[in-house]
Assembly symmetry: C2
């Protein structure tokens, strides 16, 4: 299969859904502008695509879960806006453009993030049901995403990350940050694709392992790209981890060992999918793509 | 009925539920500390109590919806933390104590708010079902709260409020701010109490009217207290609207006219409940209490 085609086709589907959110005008208009500025800035849409691919791997029809998948991008985007704030990472560049607060000011950026987070749960509780996607499954999906993105997941990871700046390096803390700050939502993305397809426990367990492994591989490659990558290709300033004295895998173990670790994690992820048939090929190719990517 | 007893009994029930959220330790601990610092700071718990009272007015058992009611306080508290930030209203005092960012720093305060908002939806999607509270009703409740607190509700109101500072006074904008920034979540609080009791359309319509009227009355009294109230009793700095040149009802119409307006709104709210029996007495007393209150 051609993973590039697959990724761009799914990305376009997600992009068009995200754009349609703004069909209903928002008041005040500038709040809508601030939300769409970041939401429609053309990210990779990795989390939604993982949900769609995982849904297909379990025999589901990707089209039927687009709103659920898109909600993950609302959450991811809110987290980027808040992380970039001067009070947090103080970043000026994101996805090749000035960060949200640089354009709209800190206050509106905070509100745009708050709104995107809230709208994610509106989407999750409002999305159409089907014979397979019962209200009970939809609640389970909302719960899964809330758990992965809240205090016990992403926000917890971000808080630990904040505390670790300029602090003595500690491998347990690094691992906590990775599994929570990025890992939890990536794993949840994979899992909800399965949940919405009515996956059995054993399948969900495999998907969970797959998600955990690629989540960590993704983060390690992110940290390597922060050292070796190209600011223009990445769309954000490189070298920021070193400037902020952030602890990272390549910082602790060097680039070569870290690359090997990422490759090993992808192998583990592929192994976790061994019981799945061809329907899981997109998931397999995404795992391989994650360590090949340049941005 | 003795409304003071009623309010303190319900407040204690909500407080004990909120405290129990922290039975599971959070990591990093300081994130949990920042969340509990504001969540357990002893607010009036008006929104949860409205949900409980409205549930009882429709024949429901308040105890069965405590987690749903408590989720409203998670959302209200997150909004206070973010509103108090230096980038927003820059307030130093809240509920008689230094604001969250004064104690934990801006970054942790942003994260504590994000976490509280997310956990609200975790609560809503995780709360126990019963014969009456089906998954479908629970989704409806989550949707209602998301709509009232997101871009089309509270966050939209806060964004408009931000834009209105130092801007020419405009009654349409003032009305938009009131109905969105505080009104939407108060109305939703009343409505979900009804929804969770299986209220019929006509009852819900009455509850909606009641909520809209007391929401506006509440805001007008808030603005009057900001002028006339006592900092110690209020637990926050008075005179802040004037300092920030915020448009308010008493600022536009004077205190006497505004008080009369608030009284008229409470009368309207009581009229909206005319078809309800004694079970709605707590709702009625709360409406009266709202204009009598000193904090």
């Amino acid at each position: 299969m051609d993973i590039r085609n697959y990724l761009s086709e799914k990305r376009e589907r997600i992009d068009s859904f995200l754009a349609s959110y703004f069909d209903v005008p928002l008041a005040p208009a500038v709040l809508g502008d601030a939300m769409s500025y970041s939401l429609l800035a053309g990210g990779k849409r990795l989390r939604p695509i993982l949900a769609l691919a995982s849904h297909e791997a379990c025999g589901g029809d990707a089209e039927s879960i687009v709103p659920y998948a898109a909600s993950l991008e609302f959450i991811h985007t809110y987290s980027l806006i808040h992380d970039d704030l001067p009070a947090m990472d103080n970043d000026d560049l994101r996805r090749g453009r000035p960060t949200n607060h640089k354009v709209f000011g800190d206050a509106m950026a905070i509100l745009a993030g708050d709104a995107l987070l809230t709208e994610a749960f509106y989407l999750l509780s409002n999305s159409h049901r089907s014979a397979r996607i019962t209200p009970s499954v939809r609640l389970k999906v909302a719960r899964e995403i809330a758990m992965a993105s809240g205090a016990h997941g992403m926000v917890g990871g971000q808080a630990e990350d904040l505390l670790s700046e300029n602090a003595p390096q500690d491998i347990d803390s690094l691992s906590f940050i990775h599994t929570h700050k990025t890992g939890a939502l990536i794993t949840a993305s994979v899992r909800i694709g399965g949940l919405l397809a009515g996956a059995r426990k054993k399948e969900l367990r495999s998907l969970t392992h797959y998600g955990e492994k690629i989540g960590l591989a993704f983060q390690i490659i992110d940290d390597i790209l922060d050292i070796q990558g190209d600011t223009k290709e990445l769309g954000k300033q490189t070298g920021s981890d070193e400037r902020k004295k952030k602890m990272t895998y390549p910082g602790l173990y060097g680039i070569e060992t870290s690359s090997r670790k990422a490759q090993g994690l992808v192998d583990d992820a592929l192994f976790a999918l061994r019981a799945f048939g061809d329907e899981a090929d997109p998931l397999r190719e995404i795992a391989r793509y994650i360590i090949r990517r340049r941005n």
